[in-house]
């Protein structure tokens, strides 16, 4: 079918971009893992006295030795300390220090591999004091790792978990040699956060000023602590530092709230794009053809279940290609829902043209039948549709702002469907016919448009788009027999708000509806947001009964 072909063509474009990005990330991750795993291959030689001290010495000596070891510029230090922390450092025969891992032992001083693990080995006990010291040292060593990904991860962890003044020299040292701007910024923030507690008020002042560049909730907490009052006394005695801290706090809060707003706008856009997909099909069947299709929600559900079936087929017959099942699910859900829609139109709806209220009731009946059919075949419980691996995770834009991939993909997908549909309606012969029949059915028939066939095709196009909406929805939420019921009221509201017969109106209405309800949600919660939006629409169509974008003209009622 031509319609199917049109929307099949589009998706690969952004899938490819997505793959490219993902493979870059994977490459970086693999590099980082590789370095960690390759510890055994590092040219290994550690100072024997320090290693002995750590393994067999008294507590104070152990700590001193760890500190000495940590400042050595030796690649073997990090794996040794990590092994110590993991309880992998063992003593054989009372004096030989070994690292035993996965049934394989190496000498901790020379790095030489042993042919077998000796029998009489004792684990080096790491007490809490030593553990803290080792952890700090590991963190600092990672700061100077040659691998950017390791450094970034280490710096992030330190920043988020908070650092104490003991780390200050390490941080300063790392800062001096760091070239990467992102890591450098984080290091500066860590340094400033530590220095907030400095006894010197000039240092505190500088630190408080530096923190203004932060976009992290941690900084907000740190600054709030500084500004807090304990009885009559401020935590910070110096008024200048307090003023600077207040200024920085304002800057950080502004940045944080910008992040929150962007996140809300984004989730509004994403809700809007789902609504848009759900409403686009309605915009054709209701808006253009004047058919109230109460089974529209169930066509969405059919699309979601088609995706589910495709997923299962891939899992059973082509597990290697499982990550790509969505590529097949998109056309399948379009065709399945489109065919169901075509069957509906041929068997029921065509007899009810011009009787909208009867159409409403009949299609409601169909929706009940479809729901019960799905319940009979797949059972009443929700079914599991998995995200492919490449759709999990997200892009982190700010410390408090992460855009999930599945939402981004859905937004792009919606945009593509919209574009294809616009081309179809405005540039193809079928689109011309649909517009002609919409404007004047009798006249279109007179000039030779096969109106009955156009009705069928337009209706199945609308249904097919509902199927696509179902395919998209299956990636964000539960798939169950009631799926469609949740969207039917919303999508009718979108069409009504946008104006009947107006695709552009539907687009604005869906995105507006999504964003506005997300914003109301921040203050009043999801239920009241929905009620408020519905109330608003009821009031809105008082003022403009024809929707936001009414067709201009003098069309008599009925």
């Amino acid at each position: 079918m031509r319609l199917g072909g049109a929307s099949e063509r589009a998706p690969p474009f952004f899938y490819i971009i997505r793959i490219l990005l993902m493979s870059t990330v994977k490459f970086l991750l693999a590099g980082c893992l590789g370095v960690l795993l390759a510890w055994a291959q590092v040219a290994w030689s550690l100072p024997a006295d320090l290693v002995q001290e750590i393994s067999t010495g008294e507590s104070d000596d152990q700590v001193a030795a760890v500190d000495k070891l940590a400042v050595l510029d030796d690649p073997a230090v990090l794996p040794f300390l990590q092994s110590l922390l993991d309880g992998k450092v063992q003593i054989a025969g009372g004096n030989r220090v070994l690292i035993v891992k996965d049934g394989h032992a190496i000498d901790a001083i020379t790095g030489e591999s042993l042919s077998s693990v000796p029998e009489d080995i004792d684990e080096v006990i790491v007490n809490n004091r030593l553990r803290g010291r080792v952890e700090t040292a590991i963190g600092a060593l990672k700061f100077s790792s040659p691998n950017r990904a390791i450094r970034l991860a280490a710096v992030k962890t330190t920043f988020q978990s908070g650092a104490d003044e003991k780390m200050l020299p390490l941080v300063k040292k790392a800062l001096a040699s760091e070239a990467d701007p992102k890591i450098k910024k984080l290091l500066v923030l860590i340094k400033a956060t530590i220095e907030l507690k400095s006894p010197d008020s000039a240092v505190r002042l500088a630190a408080a000023q530096t923190l203004a560049i932060s976009d992290s909730p941690n900084t907000k907490t740190a600054l709030l602590d500084l500004l807090s009052k304990n009885g009559d006394e401020y935590a910070e005695p110096d008024a200048n530092v307090r003023a600077a801290a207040q200024l920085s706090l304002n800057a950080v809060q502004t940045r944080l709230s910008i992040g929150e707003y962007i996140a809300e706008i984004f989730s509004g856009l994403s809700l809007g794009s789902i609504l848009l997909l759900a409403a686009l099909g309605l915009a054709i069947t209701y808006g253009l053809m004047g058919v109230i299709n109460m089974a529209h929600g169930e066509l969405i559900m059919v699309g979601a279940y088609a995706t589910y079936v495709v997923q299962n087929l891939f899992r059973v017959h082509a597990p290697d290609l499982f990550n790509w099942y969505l590529l097949a699910a998109v056309p399948v859900s379009f065709l399945t829902a489109g065919l169901v829609g075509m069957a509906l139109e041929r068997s029921v709806i065509r007899f009810l043209y011009g009787r909208p209220l009867e159409t409403l009731l009949a299609t409601w009946g169909i929706s009940l039948i479809l729901m019960q059919t799905v319940r009979t075949i797949f059972g009443p419980e929700n079914v599991q549709v998995e995200n492919p691996v490449w759709m999990s995770g997200g892009i982190e834009l700010m410390s408090n702002l992460e855009l999930p991939w599945n939402r981004i993909v859905i937004i792009l997908f919606t945009a593509t469907v919209l574009l294809v549909m616009w081309l179809l309606i405005s540039r193809t012969r079928l689109g011309l016919y649909i517009r002609g029949v919409t404007q004047n059915r009798a006249m279109a028939g007179c000039v030779g448009v096969p109106t009955a066939r156009v009705d069928t095709l337009a209706f199945s196009l609308g249904s097919g788009i509902a199927g696509l909406a179902g395919c998209a929805l299956s990636q964000t939420g539960n798939v169950g027999p009631d799926l469609g019921q949740n969207y039917i009221v919303d999508s009718f509201m979108v069409v009504v708000l946008g104006g009947v017969g107006q695709i552009a109106g539907t687009v604005y209405a869906a995105l507006g509806y999504g964003t506005v309800s997300k914003f109301i949600e921040i203050w009043y919660g999801p239920v009241l947001a929905k009620i408020a939006v519905l109330a608003f629409i009821i009031l809105f169509i008082q003022k403009r009964p024809q929707g936001m974008f009414a067709l201009k003209g003098r069309v008599a009622e009925n």
Binding site: I292, V348, P356, L361, L368, I369, Q372, F492, L534, Q542
Partner: protein, 361 residues
């Protein structure tokens, strides 16, 4: 108003017979006859028929607004539930200290850690006030909503969708625990009504008889409306609203009046329904229920009052039989009913009977 205008002699006889059955035969066979007797009517049947009579009142209301005036409302489930909730508030307060927590407040408020009744619960311990709410809340809501809707000439499918949205929004509102109507669970565990224990056979029978009498009164009232000049205008609005307006009628007044009356009828039905089934929760407001009301009327026959009654009886009777005998097939049946009736039986069962009758004579 003369009796002859409403019904002919035969019609009045049928009504008298119905009254006799409801007020005398049912109480006798349920209360006086032993359970072993063939003529004994079980508790289950009494509750079922009582329920269906409440539904029949809703069907009448629906028929007035849809069958006679041509306005399809998908909000009648809301008015029904509002009436039910108003009665439910009174019933909840009559529980007194006998709740699980032995508190002055209903259990769900104790659960929310509320210390006193919210303002909208004040006076609901008086029956007269609850009865007033039963009429006023659906009536006022319908009046205000209808005023705005009809004023901006919202009609047809638009009106149906907007009323559905209203119902849906209210359902969400009542599902919230903090709205103060028991959230998800609604009201249940009623103990007594007007001092009588609610579960005794006598109270049940009394509620049954009251529902029956109300139903017949509503039927006569609806009949009175549609045989009046006012009713003729309503039918004219259904058939050609523009022409009625050109003739100088302000159709908004007519539509607004019948819309409000219809909502109040639903509220009363809901108030009778709740003590009989013993529960009211927000799922009564789900859009599906309102649409089902439309199918009762469509099955029986739009634009005939007797059709509305028959439709409510047929569909709900079928429902109670199906959901016991073939629970998995009920929705198939109901769905096909929607499709087949709209396609093949635009006049409903009454139209079918008339056709057969007409052919024979």
């Amino acid at each position: 108003m003369s009796a002859a205008r409403l019904y002919g002699t035969r019609g009045w006889n049928v009504i008298a017979a119905a009254l006799f059955v409801i007020c005398v035969l049912f109480p006798l066979s349920n209360l006086a006859l032993p359970e072993t007797s063939i003529l004994h009517v079980s508790e289950y049947t009494v509750t079922l028929i009582g329920k269906i009579m409440c539904y029949a009142i809703v069907a009448l209301a629906m028929d007035l607004i849809w069958g006679y005036t041509g306005i399809l409302s998908l909000g009648h489930g809301l008015f029904f539930a509002l009436g039910g909730y108003a009665m439910g508030m009174y019933l909840m307060r009559s529980i007194g200290h006998e709740g699980v927590y032995q508190s002055n407040l209903p259990d769900f408020m104790v659960f929310l850690d509320w210390k006193e009744y919210p303002w909208y619960w004040s006076f609901t311990d008086h029956f007269w006030y609850a009865a007033l709410l039963v009429v006023m809340v659906p009536g006022l809501l319908a009046f205000v909503f209808g005023f705005f809707a009809f004023r901006s000439r919202i009609k047809g499918v638009y009106f149906a969708i907007i009323t559905q949205a209203l119902t849906y929004a209210s359902m969400l509102l009542f599902f919230r625990n903090n709205t103060g109507f028991g959230g998800n669970n609604g009201f249940t565990d009623f103990k007594r009504i007007l001092g009588y224990t609610i579960t005794t056979p006598q109270t049940r029978m009394a509620l049954f008889v009251i529902s029956g009498i109300t139903l017949i009164a509503m039927l006569l009232f609806a009949r009175w409306i549609i045989t009046s000049k006012f009713g003729r205008v309503l039918t004219a609005i259904r058939d050609a609203e523009s022409r009625v307006m050109f003739c100088g009628y302000n159709t908004i007044h007519y539509k607004l009046f019948i819309w409000t009356v219809s909502a109040v009828m639903c509220g009363i039905a809901g108030a009778l329904y709740v003590p009989q089934v013993g529960i009211i929760n927000p799922s009564e407001m789900s859009p599906a229920n309102s649409i089902e009301t439309a199918i009762w009327v469509a099955v029986g026959g739009r634009g005939t009052l007797i059709g509305a009654l028959a439709g409510a009886g047929i569909v709900n009777g079928a429902k109670s039989w199906f959901t016991v005998a073939f629970p998995n097939y009920w929705l198939f049946f109901l769905g096909s009913l929607f499709v087949l009736v709209t396609l093949f039986l635009p006049q409903g069962a009454v139209g079918l009977v008339r056709k057969i009758w007409g052919k024979r004579s």
